[in-house]
């Protein structure tokens, strides 16, 4: 049981030994990094904005939850294998293309339906763009200055990257960036909610906390954000402090919730690139041949990894012919089961399986 040993094995170097757990280490390092960043950012804590104090506490609680979930998850044997082998294969030629398709353009969601794709682009990119705008502003990595001649300078990391007319398209886009992304998220979330009403799909999989709560939270964040703009422009800031608190509160709850519900897919999802690399790489190395029909149906590496992972879970699946069920291709494995029921060796009849697709 080689896999069993390596799963339980602790990698022992001195830094790791100094902490009770991976959790403690990751938490310590992140909080330290945050503290240093804040120290620099606030000029030795002389400029702490108490309005943003909530975000700080929220971020720290979020990190706690995040590491707790991520580490527990990374310790599961199948996860560990894909993470470890996938990270080694990170620099494949196909990685940039796979990453863009999986993480930015979501081609595979397009194949699930244009509606679902549009919905996800609106929500996903709405959120990602908001973060791209918010974080640099909050940490001072990006700011704007105005020249006398009515031109705006966009300054990123201390360098002037662009000068644009103050009433031009780009300037307007950047003042309104967060309003635009808020509208994107609201539209996307409404599409998601509408889909739930119209298509009563898989309601049981949709526990309130798992499924609806993140949608409502995203909605709340976006609406209160938009309301802030509205109050600024049309109400001359009336009600702004209260709304700002509600907005802050909703962001914090969303952050804290993120590692536990549906939104947990955001940090976990890049693993799909690792999984794709893992499959492509080992398929080029050697393919597993079905013990019955000889078809190549998966890489030898993956077949062995699955056998090992099942072994760790005390699942053996030895056939009386002496191999593992995972060493048969899927049609043969199904016929093999029919054979166990009927006593007739269906899998040995050299006939392709009948069409199993009700669409004909």
């Amino acid at each position: 049981m080689q896999a069993k040993a390596s799963v339980n094995q602790k990698t022992g170097n001195t830094l790791n030994n100094a902490f009770a757990s991976h959790f403690a280490k990751s938490m310590f390092l992140s909080v330290t990094a945050l503290a240093i960043l804040s120290f620099i950012g606030t000029r030795m804590f002389t400029h702490v904005d108490l309005n943003l104090y909530g975000y700080m506490v929220g971020t720290i609680v979020f990190l706690g939850g995040f590491f707790y979930r991520f580490i527990a998850w990374g310790e599961r044997p199948p996860t560990k294998i894909i993470l470890k082998k996938g990270l080694k294969l990170l620099f494949r030629k196909s990685t940039p293309k796979t990453s863009v398709e999986h993480l930015a353009t979501y081609n595979f969601i397009w194949n699930r339906g244009i509606y679902r794709w549009t919905q996800h682009v609106l929500i996903g990119w709405g959120c990602i763009l908001s973060c791209f705008v918010t974080f640099p502003l909050v940490f001072g990595w990006m700011y704007f200055t105005m020249d006398d001649n009515g031109h705006y300078n966009i300054i990123a990391l201390g360098m002037q990257v662009m000068t644009v007319p103050a009433d031009g398209i780009i300037a307007n886009l950047s003042y309104n960036a967060l309003n635009i992304t808020a509208v994107m998220v609201i539209a996307g979330v409404c599409m998601a909610l509408y889909r739930r009403l119209k298509n009563m799909q898989a309601r049981a999989e949709q526990k309130f906390l798992y499924d609806f709560m993140p949608l409502y939270m995203l909605l709340l964040v976006s609406i209160t954000g938009l309301a802030l703009t509205f109050m600024n422009i049309f109400l001359h800031g009336a009600g702004q402090p209260a709304m700002s608190l509600i907005h802050q509160w909703s962001v914090i709850i969303t952050l804290i919730y993120l590692p536990f519900g549906k939104l947990a897919h955001i940090p976990f999802r890049p693993m799909s690139v690792l999984a794709r690399n893992y499959r492509e790489h080992y398929a080029e190395q050697a393919m597993k041949e079905c013990k019955v029909c000889g078809d190549q149906y998966v890489s030898s590496e993956q077949s062995q990894d699955v056998v090992d992972v099942l072994g760790v879970n005390d699942i053996q699946f030895k056939t009386k012919e002496g191999h593992h069920l995972a060493e048969m291709c899927l049609p043969c494995r199904r016929k093999y089961r029919i054979a166990q029921f009927s006593g007739f060796p269906t899998h040995e009849v050299k006939v392709k399986e009948a069409n199993q697709n009700a669409k004909g």
């Binding site: 009563m200 269906t346 009700a358």
Partner: protein, 186 residues
């Protein structure tokens, strides 16, 4: 009253109504998730359905790196959560019966979820609702127990799940006898 899917395999007449019905369940997106096989295709017409048996210790879920396969409180092993499945296909390799299907275009695994929207409220799954030959039934444990008595036992006529499967399952399988040359008592 908790009911289970119960199969009397040899009743199957190969009509494939179960495949068609499966496509119509909410959330199945018009694709079926079960199988019907010819037992001895070159010789006779006997067929048998092959369904997900909803293992008590499901290999598919154990092998999933993304924890995309959830186990419902009723014991049903659900299809991959659409936002979690990373498309590694471990589950298809792990399942001892070759049940999970994989859509490469959508990068998504899909499998029988026992029509969870129906069965969680005690409504039979689509396949059992339409099966005309009583191959697929939706029964309480008590009814299954009665079947067991009816098919009379000490002499091995009740051929049921365990020796023919890899582990305990929530779906119960029975082969009361035709293929073994024993006359069946309805």
């Amino acid at each position: 009253m908790k009911k289970r899917l119960y199969l009397e395999l040899e009743n199957c007449i190969g009509c494939r109504s179960c495949l068609a019905a499966c496509t119509q369940c909410g959330g199945h997106e018009e694709r079926n998730r079960n199988y019907v096989y010819d037992v001895n295709p070159l010789v006779n017409r006997q067929t048998m359905p092959l369904m997900c048996l909803h293992c008590e210790n499901p290999a598919c879920a154990r092998s999933c790196p993304a924890q995309a396969i959830q186990i419902h409180e009723s014991g049903a092993v659900l299809s991959a959560l659409v936002e979690k499945c990373i498309g590694c296909q471990n589950c298809t390799i792990a399942c001892p019966y070759g049940i999970p299907k994989f859509d490469t275009e959508q990068n998504l695994m899909y499998k029988c979820d026992l029509c969870i929207d129906r069965t969680k409220d005690g409504i039979p799954p689509m396949c059992a609702s339409v099966c005309p030959s009583n191959t697929l039934q939706w029964l309480t444990d008590e009814e299954i127990e009665n079947k067991k008595k009816q098919f009379n036992l000490d002499n091995g006529k009740w051929v049921t799940s365990m020796p023919y499967l890899e582990g305990e399952t929530n779906v119960k399988v029975n082969l009361p006898g035709i293929l073994q040359g024993i006359t069946k008592l309805y």
